[in-house]
Amino acid sequence: MSRFFVCAAVMMIVTYLVRAIPFTMFRRKVKNRFFRAFLYYVPYAVLTAMTLPAALYATESLLVAAAGLLTATLLAYRGRGLVVVSLSACGAAFVATLLLRLLP
């Protein structure tokens, strides 16, 4: 068997087990107050940590990324939905890219 298939299988198995074992084993509701509070906060903490500061460097210029992210933040603050916020981030970043190209 080629090295590629061995490597692909290792990637698949490790990634799957890391996901599925805790998800499948943890059936009971957690009682511990600290741990409950901790788990409640994890999603917001993870999403924030993945966005900042990495998202600022996702495009060719800090300004382009900032335009997209600020637009998204403003619209999300005003209660707009997932799709609108997400696509507006791209739209604003496109406009910012064009402006950067047009301006000297």
Binding site: R19, R36, A37, M50, A72, S86, A89
Partner: protein, 246 residues
């Protein structure tokens, strides 16, 4: 109308709602995995190899590290260790998400659905205000899965036809989704805002400070998230005790 019909209808409704919520994720994934396909091609992988990896892994950071390790001739142990560390956050997410799952989702179903835990799918499912059912989660993971697989396929085959500027800008869609989840929650609760501020601060430290910035991306996310969530739970626990969003 029998009870069975009603249950069937509610399952369909749940599945459709999942599909709808998964759509923006699928769009974002298409472009991210498109760039993954391009990266794979540039590293010498065949189109079906990159696509196979996407179909069996469904994770961005882990796959990118994986193909780079394979291309560099790294050992199987190094490969396994990098996957474990980068994807360890999914363990945390799995435990967190299990608290938000409907009680009747059985073990075997969880073992199947667990494959679909990604940063974004988890983010949407865990912040859902009502318990997550099998049908909803299945709907939620459907479009992102195909978006991820087909994005890789097209990226790997077409190579670098779209200008880099376009794919980069489209990758902001994913961050826009994160913002759409975090900002309303932080607006509603000053406690969540506090956690978000700590997570942003620690994440920036891990990114900019010498020595700390040598830490891999996956591990940096774990450190930032655990520090912020633990500090938040210790300093300002949520009023209702947290964890249950029913």
């Amino acid at each position: 109308m029998t009870t069975k019909d009603t249950a069937e209808q509610s399952r369909r409704g749940e599945y459709r709602e999942g599909l709808r919520h998964g759509f923006p994720i699928a769009c974002g994934y298409f472009f991210v995995s498109f760039t993954f396909g391009i990266l794979g091609a540039s590293l010498g992988f065949r189109w079906w190899e990159s696509t196979l990896i996407s179909m069996t892994n469904l994770t961005s950071a882990g796959q990118i590290a994986g193909i780079k390790t394979i291309a560099a001739g790294g050992s199987v142990f190094e490969l396994a260790l990098s996957q474990f560390i980068i994807n360890l956050r999914y363990s945390l997410m799995g435990i967190s998400l299990s608290q938000n799952m409907s009680e009747d989702v059985s073990g075997p179903r969880r073992a199947f659905l667990g494959f679909g835990i990604t940063d974004e799918i988890y983010g949407v499912a865990a912040s859902r205000k009502v318990p997550v059912t099998t049908a909803y989660f299945l709907g939620l993971m459907t479009l992102p899965y195909f978006g991820w697989a087909f994005g890789t396929l097209f990226g790997a085959i077409l190579g670098d036809i779209l200008p880099k500027t376009v794919t980069e800008v489209m990758s902001l869609a994913i961050y826009g989704m994160f913002i759409a989840i975090v900002v309303p929650a932080a607006k509603e609760s000053r406690r969540v805002l506090g956690v978000v501020a700590i997570a942003a601060a620690v994440s920036c430290l891990m990114y900019y400070v010498p020595v700390l910035k040598e830490v891999s991306v996956g591990f940096a996310i774990i450190v930032s998230a655990v520090a912020a969530a633990a500090l938040g739970a210790w300093l300002f626990p949520p009023e209702d005790g947290g964890a249950c969003r029913e």
